[in-house]
Amino acid sequence: MALTGLVLIGFVLGHLLGNLLMFKGEKALNEYAQWLHDHAGLIWTARTVLVISVFAHIWVGIKLSLENKASREGGPAVDATRRATLASRTMPYSGVVILGFIVFHLLHYTFKAVAVSYQGDSVYAMVVAGFTQPAVALFYIVSMLLLCLHLGHGVSSVFQTLGLRNERWRGRLDALAQAYAWFIALGFISIPLAVLAGLIK
């Protein structure tokens, strides 16, 4: 989970930084998109690594959840959780919604198969056209909040799995994970919000 998660944690940052070019203007974003397409080797290497990571992450996640459910045999009749966070307890659920989001997102902006009528060459115009639909924008925003929840637990867990955590650093690493998760989520959310508010046209 940690190694594949690490790839995905890095990917969302790269994806976000690219997306934020929306605020720089149409030209900047489209040039960046064109640059990516001009470097077919780079983009296909990244895509291959991502697809393998996503499938491995899901596979291990399912295996983990099933094994863990079986190990507990229902647990005690009275629930008395002391410190397990909401994020830690909902990782499989936030993960499933994020998977659904990824599928929709690819159909939406990569294959342009759903919910976008725009078929031109400008990525910028396509994004604006996509987010002018409030239902679509809302789905993106909710998904990103769940991604925030998922990352908040996931990023700090990476350190524990790799053995790079102790009681002294636990609090700081948890705070770092929260900061990262909110930076990613709010960064992504800022784009549909800006479109809805009419700041990006």
């Binding site: 983990l64 094994e67 863990n68 079986a70 190990s71 507990r72 045999e73 229902g74 647990g75 005690p76 009749a77 009275v78 629930d79 008395a80 959780t81 002391r82 410190r83 397990a84 966070t85 830690s88 307890r89 990782m91 637990h153 700090s156 867990s157 350190f159 524990q160 799995t161 790799l162 053995g163 790079l164 955590r165 102790n166 009681e167 636990r170």
Partner: protein, 269 residues
């Protein structure tokens, strides 16, 4: 708390206690118990319940206990959903009835985990822990006369850290409190205790790999960093031992993968 002016009072309790025979499904049984002194330990309260059941000609509840001073790791019981009850950092035998209210309903269950099958009522079979220890939780040494204490210097911080890990009494509350039924805190404590001491170096990698393998085979779950084990551990062992277990396991796996066979490869370079 019912203690008034430092004086002892008594409680009347409603108890929901788990009744089960090996291999059969279990259920809760309800019993009323009066005149429980607030100074009684939880186990003494259970003794009172069993005496009452004997007088009524009924079957007593089986539960594990031994030293009754918080160091043997024998007592268990999930009390109101919490292994070892509501007080952090104590075992069931050191939990006193002054921590409960008069008229309270207390739910008492066994440890709940697949790797710990119920023997009877509240007593579970924890031999899965013994198997983990047998697979590597020891240091192979020459037996006989005690070695000279200062032959092997152990730095004070290392000795302290090993002692912190060695506080683990192997009761199984970490498994019982974990929502995944994971034994990582127990195995982490044992691995840390031995792996950081100079005496433990010779078998360090073999120990780590063997204990993790045995743990997985015993049917324990996996760690997903809930932190419930630390919050329920009667010895307050921290998640540090799990991070270090992960580190030592990674190290051992990498070393095993790139270990030398001592022979040239067939293809030759």
């Amino acid at each position: 708390m019912v203690q008034e002016n430092g004086k002892e009072t008594t409680l009347a309790l409603k108890l929901r206690v788990w009744r089960q025979r090996r291999g059969q499904p279990g259920a809760f049984e309800e019993h009323a118990l009066a005149a429980v002194p607030t100074s009684a330990s939880f186990l003494e309260m259970m003794d009172m319940l069993n005496e009452q059941l004997i007088k009524q000609g009924k079957d007593t509840f089986a539960f594990d206990h031994d030293c009754r001073e918080g160091i043997c790791g024998m007592c268990s019981m999930t009390i109101n959903g919490m292994p070892h009850g509501p007080l952090p950092g104590v075992t069931t035998c050191q939990l006193h009835m002054r921590n409960f209210r008069d008229g309270e309903t207390i739910t008492v269950e066994p440890w709940r985990a697949r790797a710990f099958p119920v023997i009877k009522d509240l007593a579970v079979d924890r031999s899965a822990f013994d198997k983990v220890i047998q697979s590597g939780g020891f240091i192979t040494v020459r037996t006989g006369s005690a070695p000279e204490a200062n032959n092997i210097p152990v730095p004070k911080p290392v000795a302290d850290e090993a002692m912190d890990a060695a506080e683990c009494i192997g009761c199984g509350a970490c498994v019982a409190s974990c929502k995944n039924g994971s034994a990582m805190l127990f195995v982490g404590a044992k691995i840390n205790h031995l792996n950081i001491l100079p005496q433990g170096q010779a078998e360090r990698d073999r120990r780590t790999l063997a204990m993790v393998k045995t743990m997985d085979e015993a049917g324990f779950g996996n760690c997903t960093n809930y932190g419930e084990c630390q919050a329920h551990c009667p010895k307050s062992i921290t998640l540090d031992v799990i991070a270090k277990l992960n580190r030592d396991y990674l190290r051992a796996r990498v070393k095993e993968f790139f270990s030398s066979t001592g022979k040239p490869s067939k293809g030759g370079d």
